[in-house]
Symmetry: C2
Subunit: 391 residues, 2 copies
Amino acid sequence: MEKIDIRRRNLLAGSAGAVVLLASSRLMAQEARPLPEYVAYKDADGLIVHSNNTIETLRSAQGVQPVTPDRLLYVRNNVTPPPASILEDRDAWEITFEGVGEPRTLTLGELKTMGVETMAMVLQCSGNGRAYFEHSPGGTPWQTGAAGCVMWTGVPLRTVVERLGGAVSGVRYVTGTGGEEIPEGIERLDVLVERSVPIEALDSIMLAWDMNGEPISLAHGGPLRMIVPGYTGVNNIKYINRLALTEDETDALIQATRYRIHPVGTEGSPEYPSVWEMAVKSWVTGPSESASAGMNQITGLAFGGMNAVESVEVSVDGGETWEAAEFIGPDLGRYAWRAFVLSKELEPGTYTIVSRATDSEGNQQPEETEPNEAGYNHNGWRRPGLEVSVA
Amino acid sequence: MEKIDIRRRNLLAGSAGAVVLLASSRLMAQEARPLPEYVAYKDADGLIVHSNNTIETLRSAQGVQPVTPDRLLYVRNNVTPPPASILEDRDAWEITFEGVGEPRTLTLGELKTMGVETMAMVLQCSGNGRAYFEHSPGGTPWQTGAAGCVMWTGVPLRTVVERLGGAVSGVRYVTGTGGEEIPEGIERLDVLVERSVPIEALDSIMLAWDMNGEPISLAHGGPLRMIVPGYTGVNNIKYINRLALTEDETDALIQATRYRIHPVGTEGSPEYPSVWEMAVKSWVTGPSESASAGMNQITGLAFGGMNAVESVEVSVDGGETWEAAEFIGPDLGRYAWRAFVLSKELEPGTYTIVSRATDSEGNQQPEETEPNEAGYNHNGWRRPGLEVSVA
């Protein structure tokens, strides 16, 4: 499918030019990468393949999409996914519950008899927007495309926990374990995908088997994934085979030292905040390079992380002056994103277009995000700006 | 992807047994049909291929899907779709506007600068449920699967009409013309896909270029489709290249004699009501054949046609007693469907499970639908019932 590639325009984007140029140079060298076999069904024209396990959506392909189709949803796997054979008999998939009154193992088929709910939510990699940090963090230089809005269907975790006798006393975390295979000769905790989130999330967590009305694909965690709405992608454990209510956080390095917010130049450790809740964020997705003078539709996407997004402003002069944008399409709920539009007459010239969202608690996107060593949780409004030439 | 095939259970379904057996026998003979090339990307395991231009979604694959993915959406083309080459330069697609103050031809690229909106809507073939009529109408024996809930993105027609000087006086219909090629030697009006809908629909019509966050596929009318929310599928003109506000309905046979509600045994003609607005409807989609005694989730889909769906009741004894079901997932608006669920303990035995929806105006599904010759607009609650054995 044809999609305008707006990567090039990012190179021109205001004060972020230097770092984005670096990031994009890396991308350019990789543009010819084909889609890996396990995601061969995806839309190559709408994606940037950074590596077999890191693929982002082109900003232009995000457009005003209310829900991101699997074909365009970003991919981020910390380790190689399990073999596709785990999807052959989905209902036979097993998950062990611990830290409850009656710990036991349930099949996915059994979970499906307990309850069913559907929830729309922004799935966003912790490192989305890393390319916009000036200190050039290591890791994938994601721009705006390591994020999508997805509809999950599954059973509320609280329903399952109640059926299993409730939480035992003293637990402070929900700890989920992924079913990826641990290669021989590697220290298990070094690669284990196991994350702990605060027990307060228990009420909103879902164990999901469908995504966007279809059984979850392998790339996105099928047959069963733990969904923690409002939390970054890494907390949403794919191929989950163990869910434990625990007193302490897991010792897996992905929790203990990685995915921590720590100062530039330091090493991650448990004393630093974990990458959990997402903050209010937005970015512009259009118009395209071919913008002509006259009426234009300035579009973008906005979400509130843990809170509903309340409003979005757009500036065409790099943040000097702002105008209110309008949301378009149905409201999919607190954890979803909303597309927005500002209809505006544009004279010939060059515009630096940025957007700034505010959530229902009054939190507003900052102009810049405080740097952190690994480049997590970017939500500043200035650097993802688009430079658009109107002729 | 694995999906339980619940076609077989339809054979057992209560009083509808005779007609559904007939319909399903026809299906069985066609089960081996492969997907035609232009929809090869679809999920064959979730679809019933009646012919190259008539493909329906398995009821089990519909499940509780909030939005129907393209891979599972039914296909119904009245004539062969245009060549895929029409998608090579989508923005160059042209549509001519007539019956407005300043009639002219616009490209899709120009339409995109005028405005953008997203709308969720049930897309349902006029003949969906035809298999449940006792008089065995001709035409495709659709069961529940010629329907989906789709998110369309495009420009409101009223925005375009306003930009073109408004409607001329005296117009009573919005008439859309499809861009299918008319084969040589065939009378144009015999095959032309051109439909007229009442001018009252003008305020809700959209000219759409995206479906579910992606450019509309060829099978579903890309690059540009007229969307008339609340109206049956045939009114949603694919590949639209002419939109006229007219004093009279088109003379194309698809309007004049076909898609009319007329008594069994009669011929269609303009004196009979056209198949336009949809009525309140629902059906059960689960549990699957493997239902075990104990807690079960009885699921289904419901919509109100022109009105929002307000409530759904479920009966497990063929309509003797009813219980209120709960909606699940976000409300996508007046024209969308909503998935519903009734959590219920089921003892071993055989159950006839039916559902009955009520819309926001108090209209309720009838037990049976008044027969009409061509088998349109079925919305009776009894015949789509599921016979479920619980062991």
